[in-house]
């Protein structure tokens, strides 16, 4: 009987995490979505001043432990997330739960031989993990991730023109279901071909280029990638017939190394000279890119208190002034009012339309 394991929710990436947890580590993935209850639990037991993702994760872990999950997996790397695990483990132990706690060490200080590093890391969780299995399922996870990110890009770009409501997102849900039951390359490749064709043949309206509205969404990575954290903001724009581009996804963050500051700083002149931390330099770069491409607007998302993204704000404001591109700044915490958010988004869209009319 495989032990149940939980890992924090992030967007739809459970299809990728499942490969790691189940196929590679021989555990059973406990898979429950984030709900109001999750949020309440997280908020109750977290330090007040910590950023929202910590609270989401903690709530999720508590619900898991209440449901007999024995293994918790957290990510260690990036920003403050590097320390989430140690405190979450302490809080949960103080609450009386018994479990094993593991961390995936993904911080960018690993300079050499990443493959060996990740293999050793995963062996801490499953001692008899052999290298072939690691490589095979690791590759499956990477290809799955690249494909789901590709599909999501298409959805953000095209679903605003769908002739049948929800046709794009229903296809994605179908893809997720199928991938959850795929354990080998053969089914993975079959689904890639099948859904590639499917997504590109969904009927869409033909809109003239000059009538298309486009926005870019940038900012702090958890709020960007988790639709519960951002109150489904991408869906909102697509429903309002606006194309969305959201350059930061898990593929960009991991395999593509898109947020590597050394690469980015060559292109962020004259706005910044040094790396601002976490994904903030990337936020600045992408703002410059989409301002130059004359997008209609930019949306900057972050969790309340996110330090590097706060540093980016005055710089984004300057880019906004220099290129005359409106930027909407949204800061999410567990108290964010859905109605208040909706009002701001609708006002922003109205403004984009008025600018066009001029």
């Amino acid at each position: 009987m495989r032990k149940k394991a939980a890992i924090p929710n992030m967007g739809d990436y459970n299809v990728v995490f499942k490969i790691l947890i189940e196929d590679m580590l021989n555990l059973k993935l406990w898979n429950m979505p984030t709900t109001e209850k999750t949020i309440d639990l997280g908020e109750k037991y977290s330090p007040d001043a910590i950023c929202a993702p910590f609270k989401y994760h903690l709530g999720h872990f508590i619900e898991a432990l209440e449901d007999n999950v024995e293994v918790l997996v957290q990510v260690n790397g990036g920003c403050r997330v590097g320390y989430y695990g140690e405190l979450q483990e302490k809080i949960l132990k103080d609450l009386g739960y018994k479990f094993k706690f593991y961390e995936l060490k993904v911080n960018n200080k690993i300079q050499k031989n990443k493959i060996k590093h990740y293999y050793q890391n995963l062996k801490e969780i499953r001692k008899d993990l052999n290298f072939i299995s690691f490589a095979y399922h690791g590759l499956r996870a990477i290809i799955t991730m690249l494909f789901v990110d590709y599909i999501d890009k298409i959805i953000r770009k095209k679903s605003c023109y769908e002739k049948i409501p929800n046709s794009f997102r229903n296809t994605k849900n179908n893809l997720n279901k199928k991938l959850s039951n795929s354990h080998h390359f053969i089914t993975l490749f079959y689904y890639i071909i099948y859904f590639f064709i499917k997504i590109h043949t969904i009927p869409i309206k033909n809109i003239k280029k000059q009538n298309k509205y486009k926005v870019a969404i940038i900012g702090e990575l958890y709020t960007l990638m988790d639709k519960d954290a951002n109150n489904e903001i991408e869906l909102f724009f697509n429903e309002n017939k606006i194309e969305v581009i959201r350059p930061l996804d898990l593929s960009a963050l991991t395999i593509k190394g898109s947020t590597n500051p050394k690469k980015l700083l060559k292109k962020t002149n004259p706005y910044i000279k040094y790396h601002l931390g976490a994904t903030a330099t990337y936020s600045v770069l992408k703002t410059i890119k989409y301002a130059k491409k004359r997008y209609d607007g930019i949306i900057h998302l972050k969790s309340f208190g996110c330090t590097p993204e706060l540093s980016a704000l005055p710089i984004l404001q300057k880019i906004s002034d220099d290129y005359d591109i409106p930027i909407l700044y949204l800061s999410f915490d567990l108290q964010t009012s859905k109605e208040g958010l909706r009002t701001r988004l609708e006002a922003f869209i109205d403004m984009l339309e008025m600018r066009r009319e001029k």
Binding site: Y83, L87, Y274, L276, F304, P314, K318
Partner: protein
């Protein structure tokens, strides 16, 4: 040539070094106004309301230096050691200041040990930029380093004397840029003095030793300053009667780290989260009852 230095953030940590370094090079230093309501309200114009109090004060301090000097010194830090991260405010501060205060001449130097930018080379570069020879800059730096180390030892020894006191001893775990900024710490220090408490400052423990102690048992704490506080806390904990953690809202590093330490501290300990509303609020009541509890315990 006048160099302006804001008195927040790294200043408390580096003031001995900087003062000595620039003095040896015959360059005049102008310190920013000490934090006060005016400095805060200036700073708030440029900051977000989500930024911490020390950050708002720092921006206000920069503003107070405009037009009073030729260049303003803004160090930018990413890795103070090869392994340890630092609050992201330090990573971004130069670019933020440069963007907000257009046309101001900033003197930046960049500490990023992971990418081979260390303090010595950077200060040599600054010396050259200010028209000094390599020899004199190097000599000034070496003397400054010596002065810094001497001062660190003196402060440690002074505090060792305090530990002999009969009064109730409270270890304050907070950053030097909070404790040494009287606008921030004055009320708390006054209350503790009125309660006849001996204040032990976690920042007075030699930093490199503190780091060693922290590295001995903690494997995941990513931030240098928090590690130094951890090492110092471990040293002083057996010698004090209680611990007062102070952090600025909404500091992420501190909110995580102090919460963890608080849960592990077997002696009386409280966590004060402060913001600019420090004048009001129940700080006095909390501190009084905290000290009462300790005094009861000691009896």
């Amino acid at each position: 040539m006048k160099i302006g230095i804001p008195t927040g953030f790294l200043y408390q940590r580096k003031k001995v070094l900087w003062k000595s370094f620039f003095k040896s090079l015959n360059i005049e230093i102008i310190l920013s106004e000490n934090s006060n309501n005016q400095v805060l309200s200036e700073g708030k114009k440029y900051a977000s309301n989500e930024d911490c109090l020390p950050y708002k004060l720092y921006l206000g301090q920069i503003a107070s230096l405009l037009n009073k000097c030729d260049k303003i010194l803004i160090p930018r830090v990413d890795y103070l050691t090869k392994e340890d991260n630092i609050c992201a405010k330090y990573q971004g501060i130069y670019d933020v200041a440069n963007t907000i205060f257009n046309n101001t001449s900033f003197l930046d130097y960049n500490i990023d040990i992971l990418n081979n930018k260390n303090e010595k080379d950077e200060l040599l570069r600054i010396g050259k930029k200010l028209g000094k020879t390599k020899e004199e800059t190097l000599k000034a730096y070496e003397k400054a380093l010596n002065d810094e180390q001497k001062e660190e030892m003196e402060l440690f020894l002074l505090q060792e004397q305090k530990l002999k006191s009969e009064k109730t001893k409270i270890l304050i775990v907070a950053h030097d840029y909070e404790l040494e900024d009287l606008w921030i710490s004055n009320k708390i220090i006054k209350i503790l003095n009125d309660l006849n408490v001996e204040i032990i400052d976690a920042n007075k423990y030699p930093k490199s030793k503190a780091l060693e102690i922290a590295n001995e048992d903690n494997k995941t704490l990513p931030w240098l300053m928090q590690k130094e506080l951890l090492g110092s806390y471990k040293y002083y904990l057996p010698k004090v009667d209680g611990v007062l953690f102070i952090s600025s809202f909404p500091c992420g590093c501190d909110s995580l780290f102090f919460e963890k330490l608080l849960r592990n501290t077997k002696k009386p300990a409280i966590n004060l989260v402060i913001d600019e509303q420090i004048e009001s609020g129940g700080i006095e009541t909390r501190l009084e009852s905290f000290i009462d509890i300790i005094k009861e315990k000691i009896k």
